[in-house]
Structure formats: structure tokens, C-alpha cells
């Protein structure tokens, strides 16, 4: 289990990236949702032992990550938000090179593992091409493959679907679902759809704090009967909270959070995780429902 307690980090200029963050994560897929600048990447890097917090603690299976980052790193698979690749070295050779760096033996077994991961990430046909010449999606698949090297117990993926085409994205969903059976897969994303489809549990991080956390279905269920949709703006007196407005086939559609129907022409709709996400962004309490 991954236990995060009172984790804080402030950058120069009083930018508070993490603000006493508390989180417990058990095996399975866990989604971390939040807007840009909410502190997701800071949390990811801190978990991976790449950045030190100002205060707080992180324990993985009872071992303090901050005191002994190598204990975690031996069991960690990490995909950063953006990364490059050494030039001239082919994908397979680079994966094997990185496998050895991760502590795997330089053996035939490791080579088999590399080949399996290439197959898994659909890179077998490009195994000899240097990763530095890959397209964005292919490079992302390589990043996932390297993260999976060594069968890690904790998989931290920062925006893993960025740059993937729909087919690859689906493929990744399936892969991650399979992997999450016996390990923690921590998925950081601002694509709510990814989290809703993949993660049985999510946390929404806003301003460096967890503003909501729990089972995905439960977080959505708490909004039942409180989400309204219509094509006109209600009066300010209604007290309804605008969740989002979007054009759908040329017609502007508004979704509001309110205990009662905010205006004529609005109808109650089935809430989704995006509604909960926007509600948290607006800083509203669900109890108001």
C-alpha cells in the first residue's frame, strides 16, 4: 500500500504545489485528476523519488520512500509527462540498456522480457529504429514499455495517453487494466474520460490538496439528481453552479449543479465524473446537493 501523509512542497515565488496532501492507495488502478498546475506532476515526481517535498512522508508497503528511495525504485515503473531518447540507438537495444540500468540481469531472459514488452506495446516492427526518430505516440508507447520493465509493483504514469491515437489508447486501457490486478497503477491525467473508464478509484487534486477522493462510481453517484442540462442560462438568483457549457452539434448546452431545477427548459441528467471534476474545480461542496 502507498501511504502519503501531509505532503507539502512550495516553489520559489510562494507557488504551493502540494499543500498537506494525504492519500492512501491500494492495489489496482488509481486515477489522479486535476487541472494544469494542480500539483499532479510534482506529486508524481515526489513519489518516484525525483524530487524532495518540504515536509510529509511517503510509505510504500511500510518502507519510507523519502528515507530509502531505492527501495521503491527497485519496484517502480515510471513514465514522465515528457521525455526524450538517446539518439542512434535502436528501440530494442535501448530497452535492453535501460533494463540493465533498472537492475535486470543482462541475460537472454531480459531480452525475452524486452521482446514481450515490444510486442505488448506494438513496437516489434520498429524495434531496430532509434527511438529519437519515433512519432509522439510511438515514443509514448516506448515510455510505457520501459516503465513496465522489471514487472514493477508500483506503476506511475503521468499523462500516458498523450499523443496516442484512439486504437493505441484503447490498447493501453486494456493493458493497464490487466496490469492493475496485482499492483498499484497510479494514473495522472486531466483527461477525465481516461480516469472514468479505467480507474475504480480516483482522487481530484486542486491547488495541491485532495479535494475529493473515492470510488469513481461513488463520486459520480453523489451528484445524482443535482445535474441539470439545458440550452439557456438560468437567472443568477437560482443559485445554480455552472459546471460547463459546450456546443453540441451547433447548439450551446449548459450543465448546472443545483438541488432544484434552475430554470424552465432544464432537465435532470445522469451525472458523470466530468461533472464531479468541474464541481470540485468550482470549489463547491457536494453536500449542497
Amino acid at each position: 500500500m502507498l501511504a502519503i501523509r501531509n505532503l507539502s512542497k512550495t516553489y520559489r515565488g510562494a507557488v504551493r504545489a502540494l499543500d498537506g496532501l494525504e492519500l492512501d492507495i491500494t492495489a489496482g488502478m488509481f486515477g489522479l485528476l486535476g487541472p494544469n498546475g494542480a500539483g499532479k506532476s510534482t506529486l508524481m515526481r515526489t513519489l518516484a523519488g525525483l524530487q524532495l517535498p518540504d515536509q510529509g512522508s511517503i510509505h510504500f508497503d511500510g518502507v519510507s520512500v523519502l528515507d530509502d528511495p531505492f527501495a521503491l525504485r527497485k519496484r517502480l515503473g515510471y513514465l514522465p509527462q515528457s521525455f526524450g531518447a538517446y539518439p542512434y540507438i535502436g528501440c530494442r537495444a535501448l530497452l535492453r540498456h535501460m533494463a540493465v540500468l533498472k537492475g535486470l540481469p543482462d541475460s537472454i531472459e531480459t531480452q525475452s522480457e524486452v521482446d514481450r514488452l515490444l510486442e505488448l506495446t506494438n513496437l516489434t516492427h520498429h524495434a531496430r529504429r532509434p527511438v529519437s526518430t519515433f512519432s509522439g505516440g510511438m515514443r509514448q508507447r516506448f515510455g510505457i514499455a520501459q516503465a513496465l520493465l522489471g514487472d514493477p509493483a508500483l506503476l506511475i504514469l503521468d499523462e500516458p495517453t498523450a499523443g496516442l491515437d484512439p486504437e493505441e489508447r484503447l490498447r493501453l486501457y486494456n493493458l493497464l487494466s490487466q496490469l492493475s490486478d496485482d499492483r498499484i497503477v497510479l494514473l495522472s491525467t486531466h483527461i477525465v474520460d481516461d480516469a472514468e473508464q479505467l480507474c475504480p478509484e480516483v482522487a481530484i487534486i486542486v491547488g495541491g490538496r485532495i479535494s475529493a477522493r473515492g470510488g469513481t462510481e461513488l463520486l459520480v453517484k453523489e451528484l445524482d439528481g443535482c445535474v441539470w442540462q439545458g440550452s439557456a442560462e438560468p437567472s443568477a438568483q437560482s443559485g445554480a453552479v455552472l459546471l460547463n457549457s459546450a456546443y453540441r452539434q451547433g447548439v450551446q448546452i449548459y450543465r448546472y449543479f443545483s438541488r432544484t431545477c434552475p430554470a424552465a427548459g432544464f432537465e435532470a441528467v445522469r451525472p458523470n465524473l466530468e461533472d464531479r471534476y468541474f464541481l470540485e474545480m468550482r470549489g463547491c461542496e457536494v453536500g449542497a446537493c
Partner: protein, 1073 residues
Amino acid sequence: MLGRLKLGNEWRFLSRQPLVWLALAGAVIMSAVMAGGSPAPSGSTPAEALLRVNLFIPAFILPFLAAALGPTVFLREVEHDMSEIVGSYPMTVTHWLGVRLGSCLIVLVAACALAQLAMLATLASADPAAVPALTLQSLGWLLVIHAPACLIWSCLLARLSCATGHPGILYFAAGFGWVAYIALAMLTGTPLIGGSYVAWEPLRQALIIFDPYAITALVNPMPENGLLQSRAANIALGRIAWLAVCLWMLRGIIDLPARSRREEKAGKIENPDRSLLPDVVSRLPGWARHVGLHLRHVMRDRAFPLMVGGWLLLLGPEVYSGLSYAEPLAQVDPDSRDALNRVMWDIVPIAAALVLLYAADRVCRMYGAVRMHELVAATPYRSWLMVGVQILALWTVAVFFLALAGLAVVAAQLAAGSPIELWEYMLQLGLALPQLLLFGMLFAAVHALIRLRFAANLVNLLLVILGFTSLAPSLGFHHPLWRPLASPLAAPDHYWGFESSIAGYAPFLVFWSAVCLALVLLGMVLNHRGMAFRQMYWRSALRHPAIALVLTLAVGSAIQGRLIHVAFADEGLLVSPDERIAQRADYERNYGQWDAVAQPDVAAVRFQIDFHPSLRSAQLRASMTLVNRTKVPIEQVLVGRNQIPWDGDVRMGDAALVQADARLGQDIFRFQRAMQPGETRELSMAALFRQSGLVTASMPLVLRPTFSSLPAHALLPVIGFEREFTLRDPDLRRAQGLPERQLTPPSQLPPQSARLSADLANIETLITTEKSDHAIAPGELVSSWQANGRNHFLYRSEGAMRNLPAFYSVPWRPQTWKAGPIALEVHAPQRLSADDPNLRAMRDTLEWLGSEVAPYQSRTLRLIAVPEAGLSGYALPQTVLLSHRLAIRAYPTADAGFSQAYRRAAHETAHQWFGHMIGHGIPEEHGFLVESLTKYAELVIVERHEGGDAMQALVAYEWDRYRGARLDLAAPVAPLIDAEESEDMYSRATLVFACLRQQIGDEPILKALRAITSQGETTGRPVRSVDFVDALIEAANPMAEGTIRALLLDRAPLPVTLAKSGCNLNDPQFLAR
């Protein structure tokens, strides 16, 4: 342990990096080239040559390898944005360091070993039998020099990588390490490049131990007393000290994470918004703001303040420490010209080119580095403006660093209390700037044209290497245009300023400006705009209006290049060394049989010379009277070109040209009627010599407004076969398929049948020059007059004199002095005082040798001060040439003990006896009778007129020089009378004669000198060194024969010979230190 280093895994990565292979190949090629043009003095054994070339590995190759490989090994994650991924892997800092340090060390050591192999292969081809010994020696150097140097570089790279995470710092460190070590080597007399001297003895002493490469300890003599006497102990101590430094650096790396954590907590993280260029930038026009942006990118680089610091650190001490240096034990009163000359023409251009190379990468790849290239490429920002802004930014960097160089020199001058001349600064900095501006243009153009950043930088580096090193000539490309952006402009002196080279400055500048401008325009048209793809089709590019201008500039540069080429060809400067060697070999092959054919001698020469110094030309007409002094009729004469080739007219009276060999410059004339014994014939020649000024002036042929020298002795046609023009080097002879040359050493020469008269001739010269000039010729001045706006002078020798005529034209009026009955005529820019050391030395030598050995053979002796053109002192009959800087400007340092100027003037004057009276006529006798006996004269004259202490200081100086030149003092040597190495002929001879004087006194030596001089006069035959030895044995006490034989004929090492002869090097009576 090795398993933990995961070397296989590192190899998996490194073996796929082209840069690694390029670096290894570069090391091998550079080594082979260096070994091919071996820097060892001629006559060195293969082992000595191997050591000399091995020194180039740490000094010249390792810094480049460090720069090339450092970022790949230590900063690959940073460079390729993989820090986060690799940082999350379970590797401790110690483990990471072990892996990277191990691989860096192995690659560097492997590169050194490959370089050694290339050197070995090159050197061993000359002496295959020496391969096993050389291989063993190479292994030794690998362990003692290269492996520790690799460790030091690896640790330094690791330390800097971990401390800064910035490849630029590594490039800077490598460049600084390279230039700084060469500067140190120059200051400590380490023979890596020419012009090295011991400028600061304490520094040399310190480097004997603390030289990171141990080179100082390997090539310098060890102190004779004190703690540092053992070479091996010094080297071992130095290696241990550097190992400790390495451990300290590594310890620092291991501590770094904890320290950075502490600093992070203490809020010491760099403010990313810090700006070095304040708000001024925002008020500038658009293009200037772009320039400011690029400059900010350069200046905010962490390497920039280091570069500025390093630049000042490199130049300031170099200028300060050598400001007044003239030569060992002599100094000048320095002014701004001396100060600027210390750095402005060697260190500044190459260091500034390296700075610009780095700045070009920062400036031209700025958008790519911040990942904005795609955004910028998509804007309507014009390519020409993009390149133009980059060039302006680079020009600003060039001006900044040049100004900084000026400030460093000013600071050094202020510290030394030397007068500062603003005009000199403006002149030198102004002349140095264009080359740097052109480098900026060239680098920007290369970056604009070549998409791959690495390839562009590699091309730029190659341009710098070609421009500043002898790589192109080493590879067989001798044309001057193979040196990008180079011009002949050289340091000015106080005799004639920039006159030696300024004429060639503009033609080269025009050529390179046109080339650079064409490339810049091409770069503007074909600019990749930071993208990995071509931005324009060729056919569209060809329709671009700028292409017409590019073509015009290309044609213009081709025309200018052609003009330069033709000027070089006309002056015979495009003949490669290989071709010269082949010509000399063919000369021997085709004309060697003429050595046995009776040929006439030159009995008289009548010259008519017209100097036109302002036009850099001179007309030479000569009529040579040939006389048949043999006993047989001569039917054919071989008339060949001399050392300096020329095109002109050669005619022989009563003879027809039957064969003309234009390549080797040999003509065969057949007389209509055979030349009977005693009969004479006339040979006439006429040639116009003109110097374009495209090449820096160097003696002996110099035609410039302030100094013109026409060495007729190297220009006149040569009659018959001249053995001196054949190849001497055994390796070259073997390579050319020539048989081994049988050279008889002087100690085994039989009595000679040659006649001294063959070298003598009556010389008459009518010489004219411009009306502001004075012309000088051998012989006595008979009359002078003005006609047609020109000065005319008639010179005539009083009887036959040594046939080595040379003519001069200078704008100085002659200064006349007397030395007894002999007139001393001085030609120098300033008036000499009566007690000038040169005049005193000439008087003292004339008086002493004239009375003790033989009378001086003329009525006049001339001293001509010459500019800095590759000559310190030289003696021709009746004429002494002395460097203006060394003879007239320089004076002894406080600790000198003797005057170099006095010594040199005495030496050159003594050649009127040793060289021009005796010592000629036998080609093999050019060492002992000429140089070694002159060193004896030097010793006596210095002692008689400067005192015993001065003489002892001179002996100590020559002992130091001998120890510096001979690495192994215990090795056997050639008998002194046979020796051909300069350290033997000069330094060893000084010590030998000092010992002889101590043991037998001067009288027997003078008797022997008188005997051989009169022997030459009475027999008309040249004397030999063995004649001197015999005469000395006869003149000395019979008990001294063993000493004389030991000192002059023994092969034992010098210290042994001296000790055997009763001269103890530790005896202050013999060698005062």
C-alpha cells in the same frame, strides 16, 4: 567489481554512438599525422621521437576527446531529456558514478592506446627492428602519461557534469584545459610547440611534480640538487598528488545529492527569471531585440562567466609573465606592442574562434534548445533576418571578447608599469577583428545550411582545426587556401611594424569575405529554420534573387583565389615538401654522375643589382667568370638552380644549350670549343625577383620597403653537381629508392685534395636603390653617386673572398666606427652608442682573433640589424646580421650573468675566422670547425672583456641547454668533432672548451688555431677537424693528449668525459651556478 560496472551495457550504448567512433577515428588520424611530421628534432632516435609524439596525446588529443565524449558519457540523460526516467531507476550515485567513470576511462584509455598504435605504425615503418622496444615503451607511456591523464579528465568531467548538468561547461573545460596547458608548456619551455621557453622558473619547478600529464618531468632536466633530483620519484609523487585530487573530486560528486538537498532547503535554487540584460532590450528596435535575445541566451549560459573568467585568466598572466621576455637571460623595455604581441597573434585568434564556435551553437540553435524551433519556424520571421540576427549576435560576442583581451593586456601592462599606447591597441585589435567577424559569419552560415546540430558543430570545429593547425599540410594539402580564414598577418615588431605581412592581409581578407558572404547568403536562402526538414526545393532556391548574388560572390572569390594562387605559384611557393624531396632525389639520380665530371670554378662575379623596395622587387644581373682549374679540357657544363628557384635568363658564352630540365632546373651547355685548363668563360644570368607580400617575410630573400635582402649566394646558378643539394636523411633516401649515403665523419676524413680557391671569387657590384635607401654589398665601397633619382653604389672586393654574396637595401644611413684599422659600419634604425655591446663585441673579437689567430682579411666589417624574420644572428663574409630585437633592444636580465647580445655579436664576428677563413671547402666539416671553435672564441672573449663570472655564467647556461636537449645524459654520444646536433656543436662544445681551457690553458689552443689557419693559407687546401686535434696535441703538454682525445674524440657521455678529464660539474671552479 567489473560486473557491477555493467560495461557490456555501457558498450551497448556507446558502440551505437557515431560520435564515439568519430572521436576514436579522429584520435588515430591525428596521431598518425603528428607522427608523420614528427616533432622530434632531426637525428632523434625512434624512442625519442616516440616520446615527443606521445606528448601530443594528452596535450592535443585528450582535450578534444573529453569535449566529444564527456557529454555523451555523463550528460546523456540531460542532453536527451531522459533524466526523469533514468532518475527513477534503482541506481545509487556511487553506482552511477562507477559505471560512467569506468566507461569514460576505458574509452579514453582505448583512444590513447589506438593513438599510440597509429604513432607506432608510422614511426616503426622507418625502423621495423625497433618495433618490440617501441611497443614496450608505448606501454610505459600509456601507464605513466596517458592512463593517469585519462583518469584526471574523467574525474573532472564527472565532477563538472554532476555539479552543473550542462554540456557547455564540459566544452568550456576541455577548451580551457587545452589552451591553458599549451600556455603553461610555452611558459615552462616544454617543447610541445615552437617558441617555448622557461619564462618563470618556479612554475617549471612546480610543474615537474604537479604537471597533470607528467610531461614537464619527462622532457625537462631534473634539478641537480634539492628534493626534486629523481625523475621517477617526481613523476610518482605527481601521480599520487593527482590521484588524491581525483578522489577529492569524486568525493564531491558523492556528496552532491546531500548538498543540493541542503541548498534546496536553504532556498538557494537559482531564480529562473533572473535576467542579465535589463529593460534596455525592450526599448530597442525589433532586430536589435532579437540580437539581445540571442545574446541573453549566450550570457545566461553557465559556461559564459567561466569563459570570461578563463579568458582573463589565460591572457592576463601570459602577458604579464612574458611582457619583457626577449630570449633566455635577456629582456626588453616593453611597450604596448610587446604586450599585445604576447597573445594577439596566436592565443587570441584560436581561443576566440573556440569561444565563437561555442557561442554559434548557443545562438544558432537557441530555438531548438528551448524547443521553440517549430513555433518560430511557423512564423513569418524571415530567414535572412534570422541568420542576420545570429551573425550580429556572434559579432557582438567577438567584439566583446576582443575588447576583453585588450583589457587583460592593459591590466598586465599596468601591473608591469609598462607604457600604454592607445594607437597600438586600436591597430592590433582592429586588424585582429575581421578574422573573428568572418568566423562568426562562417559558423552562422554552416548552422543555417546543415540541419543536424552535431554535424554543423563538427564542420565548424573542423574549420577551426584546419585554420589554426597544420592538419591540412600534414594531410598533403599545402595550398594556403586550405587554411580557412587564415591570412599571413603576423605580429608586428619595432623594426618595420606589420611590414612583413601586411601586404598579404587585404587579398586574403577579400577572398575569405567573399566566400563567407556567399555562404551566408546561401544559408539565408536554404535555411532549415531549426527544423529537421528541407524548407525549400532546390529549383525554388535557384530562382531566389539572392542566388545571383551568391554566384557573383562565388565568381569573385574564385577570381581572387586564382590571383592568390598565381602569386604563390610565381614565387615557387606551391611546391609541396614531397615534391621537393622527389626533386632532390631525381637530381641525384639524373645528375649524380656529374660529380665525377670535371667542371670549372667561379673565379669572379660582377653583379648589377637594382633594388626597388617600395615595389617589393629587385633585378639581379650577374656575369660569372668561370675558370678551368682542372687538368683536362671541359666540353660540357652543368648549370643548375640554387636553393631558391627563379625564372630567368642564363647564357654561356661560346656554348650551346643542349639540354634543359625545367623541373629540376638543370641546364647542360656544350662549348663550341672545349674549355682548356686555365681558360676562362663567361656565364651571365638575369632575373627579376618580385614578392607579392602574400607570405610573411622570412630570411634570406626579403623584398620590403624597410628592409630588402637579396641572397645571391642562394640564387646564383650552381656549376656542376652539388652534393649538398642531395637528400641526407636515411629514411627519406630509403623511401625514394636511393642508396645509403656514405658520409665520412670528420674524424675519419683523409687529407683533402680540394682547393680552397674553389670557394673564393673576386666580386664587384654596381648596386642601385631608391634615393631614400642605402645599399650594401660585399667588398669595399669604391664610390657612390645619385643618378636618375636613385642611389648608386660601387663595391669591389680586395682580392678573392668567400663567394657568398648577399645584398641589402635599408633606409638607414650607415653609422661608422673604428676598430683599430678596421671600419665598423652599422645599419640599424637607431644610432648606437660607442659602448653598445654589439660594437664592443665586434671590436673585442676583431682585436683578439686578429692578433692571436690571423689578421682580419678585409678593411670593413658591417653589422646589419634585421627585422623579426626568422633569424637571430648570421655571419656572411664582411657582414654580421643580428636580430634588431635581440641585439639592439634587448639587455641582460638582472640574474643573467652575461650579455646575450655581446655573446652573439662576438660569436657572429668570430665566424669571419671560423667559417669564412677556415672551415669551408669540405662539406662534412660544417660543425666543429665552424660552430664549436666559434664557441671557444665566445668563451675567451666573454671572459677577457666581461669577466670570469660572465664566462662561468655562459658555461652554466650552455650546460642547462645541453641538459634540456639531451633527455638521457648517460647515453653515448658522437665524438665532438663528428657531432651534428646543435646541442653538441654549441653547448657541448662550450663545456668541452671550458674544460680544455681549465686543463691546458688557452695558449696550446691558440697555437693550434694559428697552425691550422696558416696551414690553409700555405697549402691552399681546406683543413680538417683532425688537423686541429693533431695541432692541439702537438702544442700541448704530452700529458694532456689523453684529455684532448677524450674531450674531442670520445663517445662517452659528456659528464663522464668531463669527469675523466678532471672537470667536475659539481666544482664551482668549473661550473658556477
